[in-house]
């Protein structure tokens, strides 16, 4: 009946989930922490407040989930950018290791930083 189970549907689901959460959450996060605070348009929140936000277990879990999904979103999209944009499909095995491997490494780091906070 069906051939050996391909991972494609699963990585596509991760890619889709990552694309959705980043589209929903990143615009405001980038605006605040990447532009508004550094430029002084709004003052940086005080340390104690952000520490309490970041130490909240729910925030940790959500941020971890968002980071993992965002990284797998990048991995999948970048893999196909290299295939089609730079026509590097012949290096497919190396690209797969670089992209998804990178996402795994990033996820582990995210776990250490966020869940160990």
């Amino acid at each position: 009946m069906s051939r050996r189970r391909s991972p494609e549907p699963f990585v596509w689901l991760l890619f889709s989930a990552g694309g959705t959460v980043t589209a929903l959450l990143f615009p405001m996060l980038v605006f605040l922490f990447g532009i508004a605070f550094p430029l002084g348009w709004l003052s940086w929140p005080d340390h104690a407040h952000l520490l309490s936000v970041v130490q909240n277990p729910i925030t940790k879990l959500i941020l971890f989930g968002v980071c993992v999904l965002a990284l797998f979103h990048w991995a999948h999209r970048f893999r196909y950018t290299l295939y089609d944009g730079l026509q590097l499909k012949r290096l497919s095995s190396a690209i797969i290791v670089l992209c998804y491997g990178g996402a795994v490494v990033g996820s582990v780091l995210a776990g250490l930083v966020l869940l160990g906070a």
Partner: protein, 130 residues
Amino acid sequence: MIETTGPYHRPISLFWWTRRRAYLVFVLRELSSVFVAWFVVYLLMLVSAISSGGDSYQRFQDWSGQVWVLALNIVSFLFILLHMVTWFGLAPKAMVVKLRARRVPPRAVLAGHYALCVLLSAIVAWLVLR
């Protein structure tokens, strides 16, 4: 038999994506994922700085104000906006939602995504700024 070169296969240029505006927008959209990955790194650096204490948080604030970091984040913001707009625009095509046997119009799916984005952004802003 006439000597002939046979069917002609047009070669694909490495810059195929510059030939049509739609292809260019597509490639830029795909490259937005790099800036998504960058912001994950930035976010983790921020959380790490916060967790390490008031001094490291202050150092992060100073570093984030440096010209190249700021420029990178402004560019990231633009690319992430591109990602958001293209993602929401394409979502209705992939999701056929049925409500009581009638198909939800694509415009409603689109509006739903933007509404959710506004809501979640407001929540994030409130959590951070209060």
